[in-house]
């Protein structure tokens, strides 16, 4: 603690304030556990809590299994084999991440339902008598399918990057010991990539637990839908806080399991100097099969829904007034831009603090802020509203002094929403910034200080410019996430404030699937573009 703490004063104070502001609202959830329960809660506990748990568990376990299977197999194909279009698939396989699952959910529903392209084709072209219930995807298996095809890239990217950093000799020695490709895969590749598989799968699980759009649309009862129902349906915020606390407990159990599975080993980055895996050339039907497999996953997760969205957009073009549409887009970009900027600035400050401070406890503090990402949006919404209402009560005398005749100022403003985004997505920006700081180390900082520059000058002239890559990639990742966000935005947006994603969600909920497509296509377009830029940027950084 001693070493530099004495002189990090402004940095320490600012960083501590940020950490507290990001962390404390979540504590209101914990206090909610101890308030006496009312009859709604008793009723819930008796009748529906169990089905929330059961449904959430089924969704989480099945989706994790399916995304691991798809993500890992794709990562292995790309890392080890050469086949037609491999270079294209390598980055294109990330694209499904640009489609928010709820958009995918209503798009696939539109494709499969009675008037959808599949049933009409089969009926009209082939004159088949169809039982519509065979085509119903608005159920648990349907939701699992949706999550899987749009979330597998989390497992794929992390594992693929990990595998491509592994030394060739590791794999080759297994081969030389006489193990065929399947045995190599199960006896070497799976065990060594365990940590990245778990990391990717945890992200998938957290996304599933956070999701509101898919389960709401498909009519599946989970914690998130329960929180919405009790809050807005019953107007019972106490019970929704209790539900939020239960969900938080659920998440904590999952994080603990992750910790145990991951074991004591930390992420190990083997040196970049190791000889990379030489690609094995696939020929004949094997090459076709490999490319075909990648293509079918990519079709399910990207091309098919995109094609459908484009068709609907063309059919409904002009039905939504352009200026209305522009205002949704502007809202989306403004809130995403503001939140991403704030997160990166805060992350730079907290990251610099984490680097300067010594001592185990102080080093642990910044980690607290990462909690926000593991807490589902609906829970954060409850927490932030509770905290802001309390803050408004506290500031009420001030409002009166200023001549305002209202007691709710902050809690009905856009600041509420942006604060919630910052809490929820801070971890995304922070991990990028933290990696950046790790990469540049402390030598440059030491050098700068010995040349007479204080901490702040060093930060501006040395750290910031050297972190450009981390700053840009962190910004892009947060921006996309805010753009796609649903539950927080629905709950916390000011009156009459709509973004592309809330609008798409509302149209879809009102069964105006086609009208929803324009906003959706725009979200997907912006996200996909950002992902491509991000990826190209990352690739340039790496060599």
């Amino acid at each position: 603690m001693q070493r530099r703490l004495a002189n990090v004063n402004i940095w320490t104070v600012t960083a501590m304030a940020i950490i507290a502001a990001l962390f404390l609202p979540n504590m209101t959830i914990v206090t909610g556990l101890f308030t006496p329960s009312n009859e709604n809660w008793e009723h819930m506990k008796e009748f529906v809590l169990w089905s929330f748990i059961k449904n959430s568990l089924i969704l989480v376990v099945a989706t994790a299994g399916a995304t691991i299977f798809i993500g890992l197999s794709l990562a292995w194909l790309i890392a080890q084999y050469q086949f037609p279009f491999r270079r294209f698939f390598k980055w294109a396989l990330i694209l499904p991440l640009s489609i928010p699952p709820f958009i995918g959910a209503y798009t696939y529903h539109g494709i499969f339902n009675y008037t959808g392209v599949i049933q009409t084709t089969l009926r009209d072209r082939f004159g088949m008598e169809l039982n519509p219930s065979h085509f119903d995807i608005m159920n648990l298996p349907g939701a699992i399918f949706i999550y899987t095809v749009f979330l597998y890239p989390y497992v794929y990217t992390i594992t693929q990057v990990f595998l491509s950093q592994q030394s060739a000799s590791l794999i080759e020695s297994t081969r030389l010991l006489g193990k065929g490709p399947w045995r190599t895969f199960f006896q070497v590749v799976v065990p060594i990539s365990r940590i990245s598989i778990i990391a990717g799968a945890s992200l998938v699980i957290l996304e599933v637990l956070n999701d509101y759009g898919v389960v709401k649309y498909y009519g599946i009862q989970t914690f998130t839908t329960g929180i919405f129902q009790t809050w807005f349906g019953l107007g019972d915020i106490e019970t929704s806080i209790k539900l939020a606390a239960s969900l938080m407990g659920f998440v904590i159990v999952i994080l603990l399991i992750e910790k145990v599975l991951r074991g004591r080993r930390q992420y190990s980055y083997s040196s970049t100097k190791v000889r990379p895996l030489p690609l094995i050339q696939l020929t004949g039907w094997k090459a076709v099969a490999a490319a075909g497999y990648c293509l079918s996953i990519l079709a399910l997760g990207f091309f098919i829904p995109i094609a459908q969205l484009i068709e609907w957009t063309i059919l409904t073009f002009g039905t939504i007034p352009l200026d209305e549409f522009m205002s949704y887009m502007r809202n989306s970009i403004v809130v995403a831009g503001l939140s991403a900027t704030a997160i990166i600035v805060f992350a730079l400050i907290v990251g610099n603090f984490a680097r300067l401070v010594q001592g185990r406890f102080a080093k642990l503090l910044p980690k607290l802020t990462v909690l926000g990402y593991s807490i589902p949006g609906a829970v954060i919404a409850v927490a932030v509203v509770t905290a802001f209402v309390a803050l408004d009560e506290f500031l009420a005398p001030l409002y009166q002094l200023a001549g305002m005749n209202t007691t709710l100022v902050l809690s009905v403003s856009i600041i509420l929403l942006i604060t919630a985004y910052i809490i929820r997505f801070f971890a995304i920006g922070y991990s990028s910034i933290e990696t950046g700081y790790d990469k540049i180390g402390t030598d440059f900082q030491d050098a700068s200080r010995l040349l007479g520059a204080g901490l702040t000058r060093t930060f501006l002239k040395v750290d910031m410019p050297m972190m450009k890559g981390a700053i840009i990639s962190g910004f892009i990742l947060v921006f996309i996430d805010v753009l796609k966000e649903i539950p927080l935005t629905l709950i916390l947006r000011p009156f009459n404030f709509d973004t592309l994603s809330t609008k798409a969600f509302q149209y879809a909920s009102d069964e105006k699937i086609m009208e929803a497509s324009q906003a959706s296509l725009l979200i997907v377009g912006i996200s996909a573009l950002a992902i491509v830029i991000f990826y190209k940027f990352l690739e340039k950084e790496m060599d």
Binding site: M1, Q2, R3, A6, N7, Q358, G359, R360, D443, F444, D446, A447, S448, R449, L450, L451, G452, A453, G454, R457, K461, V462, P465, M466
Partner: protein, 247 residues
């Protein structure tokens, strides 16, 4: 004495072992000191303590009677007037050679800056390289930029951490001579760390040997040879290793 180091002790956070134990040294103005020792012996730790990058648990450092650190004072690294050349040079990759050197001169007037830049570039014989970026220079040139950058603000004391470790044998030879000339020309008090005795013998006015954080020897290079003679008599088995120092 110009630099006075008394009884400096230090251990890194979360470790029990003392990285440096009661280190004392008096340095005259213009003297070149070499710190010798094996890997992990605490050489870099001495430099980091002097530079103010770590805070000693006890001990006192002063330059020209101005206390830099003791139990009451701790002068921040940027206020100490000490220059340092890092083991891997730590040249700012986003700045050109000129901007790297000018980095420490931000308090000077514009014209004075340019004059000083040309002075130090001349000293390290790198005129004409102002516009290059560090990655466009050879290892030896990078090292000279690092020296120029550290010398530019006119530090009282220059610290060099293993200045030759990243260079091949031939270049080491050349740079060693250059460094000696540069240090003498600039008449600057300096401490450099090395684990190569040859470096120490060629460059240093005095040598400090440390082992596991303890000071083993302080004296002129020729005295160190005497110590080895005695050691050699008692420990004939390891004599080959010491062959070097007679050459």
């Amino acid at each position: 004495m110009f630099v006075s180091i008394e009884n400096l002790s230090f251990s890194y956070a979360n470790t029990k072992a003392t990285a440096l134990d009661s280190f004392s040294l008096q340095i005259k103005k213009g003297e070149v000191i070499s710190i010798l020792g094996r890997s992990g012996s605490g050489k870099s730790t001495v430099l980091r303590l002097l530079a103010g990058l770590e805070k000693p648990s006890v001990g006192k450092v002063s330059i020209q009677d101005e206390v830099l650190v003791d139990d009451q004072t701790f002068v921040q690294p940027e206020k100490r007037g000490i220059g340092m050349v890092f083991q891997d040079y730590a040249l700012f990759p986003h700045l050109t050679v000129a901007d790297n050197i000018l980095f420490g001169l931000f308090r000077m007037k514009r014209s004075a800056k340019q004059t000083r830049l040309q002075e130090v570039l001349e000293l390290v014989e790198l005129q004409g390289y102002e516009k290059r970026y560090p990655h466009q220079l050879s290892g030896g040139q990078q090292q000279r930029v690092a020296i120029a950058r550290a010398l530019a603000p006119n530090p009282h004391l220059l610290l060099l951490d293993e200045p030759f470790s990243n260079l091949d044998a031939e270049l080491q030879e050349k740079i060693r001579k250059e460094l000696r000339d540069i240090l003498k020309k600039a008449n600057i008090t300096s401490i450099f760390v090395t684990h190569d005795e040859k470096d120490a013998h060629i460059l240093a006015d005095r040598i400090v040997k440390i082992k596991n954080g303890q000071t083993e020897f302080i004296g002129r290079p020729c005295d160190l040879i005497d110590v080895y003679r005695q050691e050699k008599q008692s420990l004939p088995a390891v004599s080959e290793e010491k062959e070097l120092i007679y050459t």
